[in-house]
């Protein structure tokens, strides 16, 4: 998280000088102290997350691919003028244990066109899908299996 703050500071400054870097380090430290104190971050969990940062990158790349596929599917539906969508409202249990991973999954589902997470209570997802074909792979697709792998710590 410290590095994220520092990178934000530098990028938003738009230049790289010693002064900016020094101020950035100081302010990132202050912001990081604040988020440790009041927002539940801690050095220990952050260190653990950093070791597994490449998993997040891999998830991001896969999410990009999913977004592209879903976009193409929905585009085909829009351009096929005879097509009438059959909207579905489905429920499923993700089986993910941590709140963080559930939120990531819900956000990813909403981000891919054609599916929107309507309700997330406990472990139960309520998802609205534009068509029957988009329902498949919601609860056993790539996104959820990858998240389960991340949870298991592989």
């Amino acid at each position: 998280m410290f590095f994220v703050y520092f990178a934000l500071w530098v990028v938003l400054n738009g230049k790289w000088t010693t002064e900016i870097a020094a101020f950035g380090l100081a302010f990132a430290a202050i912001a990081y102290f604040f988020s440790c104190r009041f927002m539940g971050f801690s050095l220990k969990t952050d260190a653990r997350l950093m070791i597994r940062a490449w998993q997040a990158v891999r998830y991001g790349v896969m999410l990009l691919k999913e977004i592209l596929n879903a976009n193409l599917a929905v585009m085909r539906m829009v351009l096929d003028l005879d097509f009438e969508p059959k909207p579905q409202l489905v429920k499923f249990n993700s089986g993910l244990k941590k709140e963080r991973h559930r939120v990531v999954l819900a956000n990813s589902i909403t981000l891919t066109p054609g599916t929107i997470t309507c309700l997330l209570e406990g472990d139960e997802f309520l998802v609205h899908a534009l068509d029957e074909s988009l329902v498949e792979g919601l609860d056993d697709g790539v996104m959820i299996t990858r998240l389960k792998e991340m949870e298991a710590g592989k």
């Binding site: 829009v78 969508p85 819900a106 929107i116 997470t117």
Partner: protein
Amino acid sequence: MIEWIRFILTALLMIAGLVIFGISTLGVFRFKYAVNRMHAAAMGDTLGVGLCLVGLAVSAPDFFVAAKILMVVIFFWLSAPVSSHLLCRLEIETNERLHKYMTVHEKTLAQEREEKEEEA
């Protein structure tokens, strides 16, 4: 030479993004029900904005401007689902005649799959 490659790449990405925006606008008008329309609008929100801004980032004068533009994409993709989730939730929770507009599944997907297997 490199300027030309950058220009062509930018133009291609921007045109692709705008085409997607066009299709998503068409979809907003073509589908019948509010939540269905949101799916079409989500298309412009994700790939449309993404392609346009990546095109701009390619043509940016230096690294920091490109990084800022890419950051816009990331923040946009983090925040856009939240608003569409809230809109959809409002619709689902307040509409009393959901059955008219969509197939409502009472059972979870796993249960439905099990039942299908038992039948087969």
